[in-house]
């Protein structure tokens, strides 16, 4: 889920040049089929989130060249994919063959029978897929449910902390390594620069799961906390869970006003416009901040790991959002669908998408992460992710009832941020709600 609304015209140009290259040569394994045009005359429908629409269109174009199959791409807002896919399957409409799913919905989609178990297909085609190349934690979190696999990772998403070097230098600040430093940095800048409309941080706190939960997850992982215990019960009864929220609340007064109203569309322009000094965000912001078309901070920004807090001294990431591709259970084109998925998530294609400005695809393969292309494209970000940083990341719940957990926690976090509840109270209530949901569905 890391693709910005980008200048589509320049993007189309990029795509046009890309398409001119001999495709078969670049995607080795698939080359064997290229000449066959074996799916000519058939159509496969791909349901994709709106932020992935550019890569979706690219896949369509490239896949048709390779196999002759027409790919119909339907983009919907990211929070509608599951509803669409479920209704589509339930009603028997079976309009979509392949869906681009948010990984936390994997359990629900699998339990409801909306997406197919592809364990055996992976086993059959493992030479081609190279599953061992998927970053282990991402591979499991995104696709594994009850011991079976339901798709392949497409876009591995995690956050890092970006900061405005110019503002930091002006006030003699160092990039934060702890959340306390982060708040302190924010305070210094806000107090000095507020009159100019500049704030020390953009805290994305809008009451939408993917927004406020990401923000909280970054703190939770920094404090060494977890969402769930190993046995699947709620881990929100930990000190870390409370400390993470307290840290979030402490930074709010120095954030771009006001965290409760800050979504992507408020926070991003503020950071790119030099009006917010820090923002914890998806890694691909790096490519974006260097684009003079949308950025006023080219070469004036830096990036660092998600800070730590409390007793924890080991930096750790959080999987905030992230998407996989799956075949729908009702599809009548499963053969093409599977080929499409293999193609889109293949080593070579992933590597190409990673280095494509505005594609918004983040690494989910070791090969991609380590590739020269990606290093060149994201010179500041790549080192932060390299060396196993992604391995122990904090993942969100993915059980069938995960959406309920997300909503419950979102509510409590928003109440705390609104000042209605203390951090302790909110986390206690969230823990209670989670325990109830987990018990009811266990």
């Amino acid at each position: 889920m890391s693709q910005f609304f980008f200048n589509r015209r320049s993007l189309l140009k990029t795509l046009a040049t890309g398409a001119a290259l001999p495709l078969a040569a670049r995607y080795g394994a698939l080359a064997a089929h290229a000449a066959e045009n074996r799916f000519a005359g058939r159509t496969v429908n791909l349901l994709i989130i709106q932020p992935h629409v550019v890569t979706g269109n690219k896949i369509a174009e490239d896949f048709e060249k390779l196999t002759g199959a027409k790919v119909k791409v339907t983009a919907v807002p990211y929070d509608q994919v599951s509803v669409k896919a479920t209704l589509d399957f339930q009603s028997g409409a079976n309009e979509f063959d392949v869906i681009d799913y948010f990984y936390t919905y994997k359990g629900q989609l699998a339990e409801d029978g909306v997406i197919d178990d592809v364990t055996d297909l992976i086993e059959r085609d493992k030479a081609e897929i190279k599953p061992e190349d998927f970053i282990k934690s991402i591979y499991d979190q995104y696709t594994l449910h009850d011991g079976r696999r339901y798709g392949l990772p497409y876009d591995g998403d995690s956050h890092v902390l970006f900061y405005n070097k110019e503002l930091f230098d002006r006030h003699g600040l160092k990039p934060a390594t702890t959340w306390d430093e982060y708040t302190e940095n924010a305070r210094v800048i806000t107090e000095a620069e507020k009159k100019n409309g500049i704030y020390g941080a953009a805290v994305l706190g809008a009451k939408i799961p993917v927004i406020i939960l990401s923000t909280y997850a970054n703190r939770l992982t920094g404090f060494g906390g977890n969402f769930l215990k190993a046995d699947g019960s709620s881990a929100l009864d930990s000190e870390e869970a409370v400390a993470a929220l307290e840290s979030l609340l402490k930074s709010a007064p120095y954030a771009l006003p006001t965290p409760l109203e800050t979504r992507f569309e408020e926070g991003l322009p503020a950071f790119l416009g030099g009006k917010a000094a820090q923002i914890d965000f998806w890694t691909d912001l790096g490519g974006y901040a260097q684009d003079p078309k949308g950025s006023q901070i080219v070469d004036k920004w830096g990036v660092t790991r998600i800070p730590v807090g409390g007793k924890n001294r080991t930096p750790r990431l959080a999987f905030n959002a992230g998407f996989g591709f799956a075949i729908t259970a009702g599809s009548k084109n499963k053969d093409i669908g599977w080929e499409l998925i293999k193609f889109a998530t293949s080593q070579a294609y992933h590597e190409e998408l990673l280095a494509l400005t505005g594609s918004g695809i983040d690494p989910d393969r070791y090969s991609g992460l380590a590739s020269e292309k990606y290093k060149a494209f994201q010179p500041l970000v790549q080192p932060l992710l390299d060396g196993g940083a992604l391995e122990n990341s904090l993942a969100w719940p993915t059980a069938a009832y995960a959406p309920k957990l997300e909503n419950a926690l979102t509510d409590e976090l928003a109440l705390a941020l609104a000042g209605t509840k203390s951090a302790e109270q909110a986390i206690r209530d969230a823990h209670a709600a989670w325990s109830e949901i987990i018990d009811a569905n266990a």
Partner: protein, 338 residues
């Protein structure tokens, strides 16, 4: 000759409940007449034909009501009594469990109260504002009529865009309103309009008012236009000032249409969704979570369609309950006029 009721212009009270039985008897009567008359009875057959065509007049509406109301209603009832998720509907019979869950949920009850309070208040304000606007335009006559078409613009703006436009106006960092207030020195730091409960409601109400008042105003304008001529002049001659004329003459005369407008606006207000979705997403906290919004979250995000169905039915019943006095009032006012 047996007497049978004929359809033409009978009193409104003649056709009431039990009409199915009556209609059937009539049809049989017509058929019997046409068939038992010794000579060929052309009139009889024509009447029978016309009678048999009668259902065609109502069939489309009946069909529409079945499709958009009866069928979804039955579906909702079934859903609400079952253990269901969006992905796996009707898994098991659940009795009244979903209702119990809904009614036991303080947050749901709170959302009902909020929604009712907001619907009543905002509709009252909008009818008042719409009436004021209509009066203004009405007294401006020709120019007013031209202006009226300008006021249609908000009604035509896609609701998503209405929400976005207001969000940009109200944004704390760089919003139009805050920018203006800061520039004028009226505030020292940006006001978080959507960040506190009271201001968030006020903001939603403002955007809602902007979007719907023109609709109300147009209907009020129509009501004003249907006032009998000369009454206002008579009152003027009687020495009534503008306020007295409005209060004692105009208002009582348009009371019935006003109640109708209030009713229709009330129903729209109960369905408030777009604006909360875009402006506040139900926040801060639950402050602006309307029932419609919470049902949306429950069904489309958490996939708990069974409980959402129960909540929808409870909500619909509540809407019926709240609007009933208004329906009664409207009917009483209408009867007074007739």
């Amino acid at each position: 000759m047996p007497m049978r009721e004929r359809h033409a212009f009978s009193s409104p009270r003649d056709a009431g409940e039990g009409f199915i039985l009556k209609e059937t008897t009539m049809a049989l009567g017509y058929a019997a007449d046409a068939l038992t008359t010794p000579e060929f009875d052309a009139d009889g057959f024509r009447r029978l034909g016309r009678f048999l065509l009668r259902p065609l007049w109502l069939a489309p509406v009946a069909c529409a009501l079945i499709v958009t109301t009866l069928y979804p209603f039955v579906f909702l009832v079934a859903l609400s009594l079952s253990k269901s998720s969006l992905g796996k509907p009707f898994r098991a019979f659940a009795g009244l469990k979903n209702y119990a869950l809904a009614l036991g949920d303080g947050e749901f009850i709170a959302s009902l109260l909020r929604t009712v309070a907001y619907a009543l208040l905002s509709s009252a304000i909008q009818v008042a504002a719409g009436l004021a606007l209509a009066l203004l335009l009405f007294t401006l006559l020709k120019g007013g009529r031209f202006l009226l078409s300008l006021f249609l613009l908000p009604l035509m703006t896609p609701p998503v865009m209405v929400g976005v436009a207001w969000k940009l106006i109200l944004a704390p960092a760089g919003g139009l309103l805050n920018g203006t207030l800061l520039r004028l020195g009226l505030v020292d730091e940006p006001v978080s309009f959507l960040g506190s409960a009271a201001l968030a409601w006020a903001s939603i109400a403002l955007a809602d008012l902007w979007q719907w008042t023109p609709f109300v105003a147009i209907l009020c304008f129509a009501a004003l236009s249907s006032l009998p001529e000369g009454v206002d002049d008579a009152a003027r001659l009687d020495g009534a000032g503008p306020f007295e004329r409005f209060w004692y003459i105009t208002l009582p005369l348009i009371a019935a249409p006003l109640a109708a407008i209030f009713l229709i606006k009330l129903i729209f207000a109960f369905k408030l969704f777009d604006l909360t979705y875009i402006l506040t997403y139900g926040g801060p906290g639950f402050a602006t979570t309307t029932t419609g919004f919470s049902i949306f979250r429950l069904s489309m995000q958490q996939f708990e369609v069974a409980r959402a169905a129960a909540e929808t039915l409870i909500f619909a019943a509540l809407i019926g309950l709240v609007t009933l006095p208004v329906v009664r009032l409207h009917r009483a006012l209408e009867r007074r006029e007739a």
